[in-house]
């Protein structure tokens, strides 16, 4: 039916974002395609430098120019290609229909304005509220995100807040205009675990209240398991596996995903099992070879992956894998969680 089509709120097609450095071209994002459905939480996981943050920044066109450039692809939102929008349209979009929560709540708030002022700003800009109306609205928002004594705290400066509280303010700013998409780039990495739990629960609740979609970028597989509906695993600028959360955790078909699952320490592990880390290191993103990039660290290499990068194929319904041997994993010919 048409409904499935309409369900897609965002579609990213073959996105390519390169950085032109003195050492060469860094292909930070090199052919990323995915879609985001209404009301879902999409997790993007991967290690440092895999391009997950650059993907997020590209959606909002926040790539630092002129070093970085989006060299190809399409980002379709509400029938428009975001890559073709002018600055003015982009300004209207950012913090309004698509908003973002950054990793570091210490540096992403402006230290010289009060917290209340900063929350008010996006209301005044986008909703054209009068100052007094914006004030009332921001107070509501601060209460909603659970700032204690929010009336008094309205006039506080960011440095008077703890990390968790600052992140709450960031969330208040991000949801001020009830965005349809909320992009959270490692929203809790800088926070302690008990505070992390608070923030993630808050985001989860708000999502249900506002019916927005969330893209959560993280390296924490636990967070993904808990909150994501679908997961995209990235490696060296490309998606290697994309499916619903259960498939990713229980039926991974890309050697990298499998390796990640075996590397992670689990609180509930039975006894002290030896971890089975992926050997080697992620490659430099300059001068990437034509072959499968994971090849150097992979235990399951074959002749094909030497020749060409494996395309992302739908191996079973809604399960995309970019590995020539994905089928063998699926059919159980290769034992995934063995040695």
């Amino acid at each position: 039916m048409v409904e499935t089509e309409n369900n897609k709120i965002l579609e990213v097609k073959d996105l390519k974002t390169y950085f032109y450095t003195d050492d060469g071209i860094v292909k930070a994002v090199d052919g990323v395609s995915f879609d985001l459905k209404k009301g879902e939480t999409l997790g993007i996981v991967g290690e440092t430098g895999c391009g997950k943050s650059v993907t997020a920044l590209s959606i909002l066109r926040l790539i630092p120019q002129p070093i970085g450039r989006i060299v190809g692809g399409e980002i379709i939102f509400e029938g428009r290609d975001l890559l073709k929008l002018g600055q003015k349209d982009l300004q209207n979009l950012r913090g309004n229909k698509i908003s973002m929560i950054f990793q570091d709540p210490m540096t992403s708030l402006n230290p010289v304005y009060t917290v209340g002022n900063q929350v008010m700003e996006s209301l005044i800009v986008h909703r054209k509220l009068k100052k007094e109306e914006a004030r009332i609205e921001s107070l509501k928002l601060l209460e909603m995100v659970g700032i204690p004594e929010f009336k008094r705290r309205f006039n506080s400066y960011p440095h008077e807040f703890s990390g968790g509280m600052r992140q709450r303010v960031m969330i208040a700013m991000a949801i001020a205009n009830s965005p349809s998409i909320l992009i959270a780039d490692e929203p809790t990495t800088a926070l302690d675990v008990t505070v992390q739990a608070q923030i993630l629960e808050l985001m989860h609740e708000l999502k249900h209240k506002t019916n927005s979609s969330i893209i959560i970028i993280t390296h924490d597989l636990g967070v993904v398991a808990k909150y994501a509906d679908r997961v995209m695993v990235m490696y060296a600028g490309r998606p290697v596996e994309f499916s619903n959360v259960d498939n990713i955790f229980y039926k991974p078909m890309h050697p990298y995903t499998i390796g990640l699952m075996k590397s992670v320490t689990r609180l509930d592990e039975k006894k002290r099992e030896k971890l089975k880390p992926i050997e080697g290191l992620p490659p430099s993103l300059i001068d990437l070879p034509e072959c499968c990039i994971f090849r150097a660290r992979c235990k399951y290499i074959c002749d094909e992956c030497k020749k060409e990068y494996p395309p992302l194929v739908e191996i079973e319904k809604d399960h995309f894998v970019s590995c020539y041997r994905g089928k063998e994993f699926m059919e159980g010919i290769i034992e995934r969680f063995g040695n």
């Binding site: 302690d192 675990v193 398991a225 590397s263 880390p277 992620p282």
Partner: protein, 333 residues
């Protein structure tokens, strides 16, 4: 039995005093970074210390190494109180107690080659001649899984995980008995983190090392530790065998901490009931009265804000299981 303990910390306190004013400084209070904690580490075991930012876990390590002066208390290493030693004696004993730091970027000098970095302990302690040292350095590089031919490279040529290996090699150079690992893997990616954790476990077996493993990530700590101490605002609130701590946590803070960590298993997570601790960790400058956790504790009663609970043994299966809570073991509703 006594002999079994390689390190015993008794009633350790470290208060940092706060001063205000420029020339005539006034004493305005103190931060109780470590407030009367006691624990021991047995030979060959790994003792994990967990807690959130600012709970004092790193200060514990720094005080043991005498990088900062303790306020009071004892640290008995191999029968000797480290705090009573003069600097020459301490110099000698430092060979046996080494550290691995958190940040592999900041803990290696960018102007020294990896070879020089690992060689430095030998130079400081005047061990061996030049030829022997080079041989030893190469050997160490091999032990930690680096290529011995990279001896002339500089730290910036290595990735985070490889630098941490260099840090480990340096710590191992003097064949220490006790290694203090202060957040050794928290700056690393999962796959590299696993490599370093495996390396530490292998080295422990090979060289019969004893670890004090400090980290904020309970799942990592649980993975490597035999016993775990949980810290909150400068105090130990629970100490237990790691399996017991996970299965039957007694202190509500431990319960909250365990529950806050998501397990990478979607189905399990859907079923799991979550206890979300409210609020933030209070400031250590002005800690709450009584039990310092009572401001966030869902089980708190009147007594908790008045009296401070002692760390008591609640063991059921013979394994020591200490907790500092009046209502230890009471489940959180």
């Amino acid at each position: 039995m006594e002999n079994n303990k390689l390190l015993e910390v008794k009633n350790l306190k470290k208060y940092f005093s706060l001063r205000s004013g420029f020339l005539f400084q006034k004493f305005t209070g103190s931060v109780k970074a470590v407030d009367d904690i006691s624990f021991y580490i047995k030979r060959g075991e790994t003792f994990g210390l967990v807690g959130e930012t600012g709970c004092g876990k790193t200060t514990v390590a720094r005080v043991i190494l005498r990088l900062v002066q303790q306020t009071s208390g004892e640290a008995i290493y191999n029968g000797v109180n480290l705090f009573k030693l003069n600097s020459r004696e301490m110099f000698k004993i430092r060979r046996e107690i080494q550290v691995i730091f958190q940040d592999p970027y900041a803990s290696l000098s960018p102007r020294m080659t990896v070879g020089d970095i690992i060689n430095e302990p030998f130079e400081i302690h005047k061990i061996g001649d030049k030829r022997k040292r080079i041989k030893k350095v190469k050997e160490l590089l091999r032990v930690v899984g680096l290529n011995p031919e990279h001896i002339h490279r500089y730290p910036h040529e290595f990735s985070g995980g490889q630098r941490q290996r260099v840090g480990v090699a340096r710590a191992l150079a003097l064949t220490p008995k006790l290694l203090l690992c202060d957040e050794p893997v928290s700056a690393l990616d999962v796959s590299v983190q696993a490599q370093i954790l495996n390396l530490l476990t292998e080295l422990q077996k090979e060289f019969n090392l004893t670890y004090l493993f400090i980290a904020h990530d309970l799942s990592v700590v649980k993975h490597v530790s035999d016993r775990i101490g949980v810290m909150y605002l400068g105090k130990l609130v629970e100490v237990a065998e790691s399996e017991d701590l996970y299965k039957t946590p007694l202190h509500p803070y431990t319960m909250g901490l365990l529950s806050a960590i998501p397990i990478p298993d979607p189905e399990l997570e859907r079923k799991r009931k979550r206890i979300v601790l409210e609020g933030d960790v209070p400031s250590p400058i002005n800690p709450p009265s009584g039990c310092s956790f009572h401001t966030r504790c869902p089980n708190a009663q009147d007594i908790c804000s008045i009296e401070e609970p002692e760390l008591k043994d609640y063991s059921k299966n013979g394994n020591e299981h200490l907790a500092a809570c009046f209502f230890a073991g009471k489940p959180i509703a």
